[in-house]
């Protein structure tokens, strides 16, 4: 018997196990337009619900129910169900030229007439994703060719350990099943659309009994039975599925919701799965009569692919530099990472009077003072609170200094952070910075002595403070020169820097503001260092050995004694 109507040349084999009301809605949609639908219901489904499902479709001549099999995932039941339903389809509906395999959670996205026209234009083409095992990149669990050469008597869902152990055992022993002669294993999406010719050839193949016996013990045969056999019989295989069906990184299908409506509309795919059964808007929109789209468009699931690829990346890789309630990398390298490059300057604001203002102008960004000062957090411009509501309280910062820095860099993504650091600051952050590849650390060693030199404290206090700071900075330098450092570190001694400051300053300016790469027109004001050599000598005379500054002459010439080279001395 052939159903009348425009859709008579395409038949649908529908596999259902739940959400029968939606399956019925879709089946009715197709059957009402003349396309026959053969439905298979999982034998494990609730009896009363199935009866209601059948009764609800009883008025449609083009709907048949196929013999029922139990369809546990990964087993032959699904293939057996498909084979029986396809047999019914070919037997009962002589007008069918293409048979499309769909599930109860599939939804047609384009009018049936589009699909019919598309298939009528390709009367001998079989649409089935069919790829050799070597070329498949998507199998979950690492089983490719082994799907065909091992036995899988244990349920993967319910007896995972036994399943895995038995696979391991077979691998160890080297126990292999022989693949029947003439078969070349192929894998692909379960959802196909085959011509009557090919499907009949598969169903009526004299070797079918032996094929079925073989595939009964292949792992996930619904992804390989038709995909392999089609290669024996088909003349024109188009290796892609007409059903839009995407899998996530765990191998479970992505689900579509009401908010995917526009995305699905623009995809131009014929059928999509799987649809959330409560996505009422989708069902209403796509099952509504009429609504002819761009008739000849090829399916283009690119946008949807990108959406799901992004989702998988978010789940697998996450956002670098973010630690939050559902992302806490155990790997210390990943956990200690910040979101973007930032610069740490040590000694610069001691040596130059207006370094922060100058750098702010050059780099076009707000430059912080000493973020890790003991009294409070010195945000740029003396702010008490910064982006993300970071407080300037030292206690809050010191509660978790690494989190403070990570939060700061995360909160200000897109705006480069620069801050001052020194031996007078809380050093707990130093190892964190040193191990962070995003940190650019520039150090003028011994520059902390300049404010001491200019201060009018009692010399005994100055001497004590100098000894303390030198000890701290020596440790810090050892850290920065150590093996575990991933930060980009530049170190100059004070003497070196004072002797030719232009080169390093230019370097820093270029690094921070690469777009404005040009020669510096303005330079920061160098502190007056006349008498600095004498000051260092006084420290020595008091029994302290200042070593980090480099050599400064004891006379009043502020310049160090090392011979000059490079650019002329430009700093005013």
């Amino acid at each position: 018997m052939t159903a009348g109507g425009p859709g008579g040349s395409v038949g649908f084999v529908m596999l259902c196990h739940t959400a029968f009301d939606r399956a019925a809605q879709v089946a009715r949609h197709w059957a009402a337009q003349g396309s026959p639908v053969v439905i298979h219901v999982d034998r494990r489904a609730d009896r009363a619900e199935v009866q209601r499902f059948r009764d609800g479709l009883a008025d449609l001549a083009g709907v048949r129910f196929a013999p029922r099999h139990a369809c546990e995932w990964g087993t032959f039941g699904i293939v057996a169900a498909t084979l029986d339903a396809a047999t019914v389809m070919l037997r009962d509906f002589a007008g069918v030229r293409h048979v499309m395999l769909v599930s109860g959670s599939c939804l047609p996205l384009r009018p049936l007439a589009d699909l019919v026209a598309y298939l009528d234009a390709r009367p001998r083409t079989d649409f089935i994703e069919s790829v050799t095992t070597e070329d498949v990149g998507w199998t979950v669990g690492g089983l490719n060719i082994e799907r065909f050469t091992m036995r899988f008597p244990f349920s993967w869902r319910r007896r995972r350990r036994l399943f895995d152990a038995y696979v391991a055992l077979q691998r160890r022993i080297g126990w292999r099943r022989r693949i029947p002669a003439g078969l070349v294993p192929h894998l692909g999406s379960q959802w196909w659309c085959l011509t009557r010719r090919t499907l009949a050839a598969i169903l009526e193949d004299p070797r079918r009994a032996s094929h079925d016996r073989y595939f009964r013990h292949v792992w996930i045969p619904d992804e390989s039975y038709f995909q392999t056999l089609v290669r024996l019989h088909a003349t024109d295989v188009e290796s892609r599925s007409l059903t839009l069906s995407k899998f996530d990184f765990q191998g479970k299908p992505h689900v579509f919701y009401d908010d995917h409506l526009q995305l699905l509309r623009r995809s131009d795919c014929f059928v999509a799965r799987k649809i959330w059964p409560h996505a009422g808007k989708l069902y209403a929109a796509f099952l509504a009569a009429g609504g002819a789209g761009p008739a000849a468009a090829e399916p283009g699931p690119g946008k949807i692919d990108r959406l799901f690829a992004k989702a998988a990346e978010r789940r697998v890789k996450g956002r670098a530099g973010l630690i939050m309630q559902s992302r806490l990398p155990a790997d210390p390298a990943e956990a200690g990472r910040t979101a973007a490059a930032y610069s740490v300057f040590q000694g610069f604001s001691d040596l130059f009077e207006n370094f922060e203002t100058w750098l702010g102008k050059v780099a076009g960004t707000r430059v912080h003072g000493r973020l890790f000062a003991p009294d409070r957090v010195h945000f740029a411009g003396g702010e008490t609170v910064w982006t993300g509501a970071l407080s300037d309280s030292a206690a809050l910062r010191d509660y978790d200094p690494a989190a403070f820095l990570r939060n700061l860099v995360w909160n200000t993504r897109g705006e480069r952070q620069c801050f001052q650091f020194g031996p007078a600051d809380d050093q707990a952050i130093a190892p964190v910075v040193a191990r962070d590849a995003n940190a650019h650390v520039s150090v003028i060693t011994g520059a902390w002595a300049v404010p001491l030199f200019r201060s009018d404290q009692p010399f005994a206090d100055i001497r004590r403070e100098a000894a303390r700071l030198q000890r701290i900075e020596t440790d810090h330098l050892a850290l920065l020169r150590g093996g575990a450092v991933r930060a980009r570190v530049r170190i100059w001694s004070l003497a070196e820097f004072v002797e030719s400051p232009m080169e390093p300053l230019q370097l820093i300016a270029d690094e921070i503001g690469p777009r404005a790469r040009r020669a510096l027109t303005e330079v920061p004001r160098l502190a007056d260092l006349s008498g600095f050599g004498r000051f260092l000598q006084n420290l020595r005379n008091q029994g302290m050995q200042p070593v980090l500054m480099g050599d400064f002459p004891v006379d009043d010439d502020p310049r160090p004694i090392t011979p000059r080279r490079g650019k002329p001395y430009l700093v005013k």
Binding site: D258, A311, M324, Y399, A403, N407
Partner: protein, 335 residues
Amino acid sequence: MGLIQSYGLRLRRKRLHLRAWRGRRALSPVADRTRAIRPGAILLVSVLRNERIRLPYFLTYYRDLGVDHFLIVDNGSDDGSADWLAAQPDVSLWSASGSYAAARYGMDWATRLHRRHCHGHWCLTVDADEFLIYPFCETRPLRALTDWLDASQVRSFPAMLLDMYAQETAAASYREGQDPFASLQWFDSGNYTIRPNRAYGDLWIQGGPRARTFFAAAPAEAPALNKIPLVRWQRGYAYLRSTHMLLPRGLNLTYERSGGEKPSGCLLHAKFLDTFADKVHEEAARGEHYAAGREYRAYREGLGAVPTLWCRASERYINWRQLEILGLMSKGNWA
């Protein structure tokens, strides 16, 4: 974790259930409609006291998300909360006599309800001032999330507490039925600290406006913000310490450790309304809250009347996508 420790946690869990069972007489049903709970229903469990004016919006909010039944314990309200709740068709109400603190800050009562009524259900355990935000919550009902979690074989869903506040405290006046976030529009977007708790595998999140204002000098004492409010309940589960963590420990592993992001949400916290000042005085005096109402005493000392939490770097709430971009919650691989 060794066998002994793991057995110790098991005993601890059993003890929690025993406590809840011993305290069963403290709970007396006022309106028991639990027979109406269908298989697969999404349930909400809450313990509350004197929240009458908040209740209409609270119930409406969660009904709209798709909660099917509310299981509520009323701890001696005298503002008509009980009468109002008992009249709601989808609410089952118990009244709890006795001390909130002695009942493990109400958790013993909740544990009792969880064990008796929540087995096999997705169950949301929240306070009357906590409002769940999850990825796609504007377009997808709660059942879409729980279906997806089921398919992904995930049993628990985390939602960090996000304290919401008004720009001027005067704006935070609240009338019955109002959306509290019409006035409490602001939050702190990036000043949280997170550390793992080895013993239970949960996270300890602190920070936000309360840490910034009341606890700036003693950040270690700032309240915990990590919560796991949505759980596919099994009879043996139990919350430890409010809804911050659960036993068995596996339920606390709601975060990814190999670099990726698992899905998560936020609980918008509508605590800082004009009703707050009264509550502070009442609760600080009662001393029935965690650490003898230390938090409430800190508020009372810190504020005088009503707190000003707003600062120039506060962020104005727009939607869940904003929270996702800011890194406070994540879609994970739900797309």
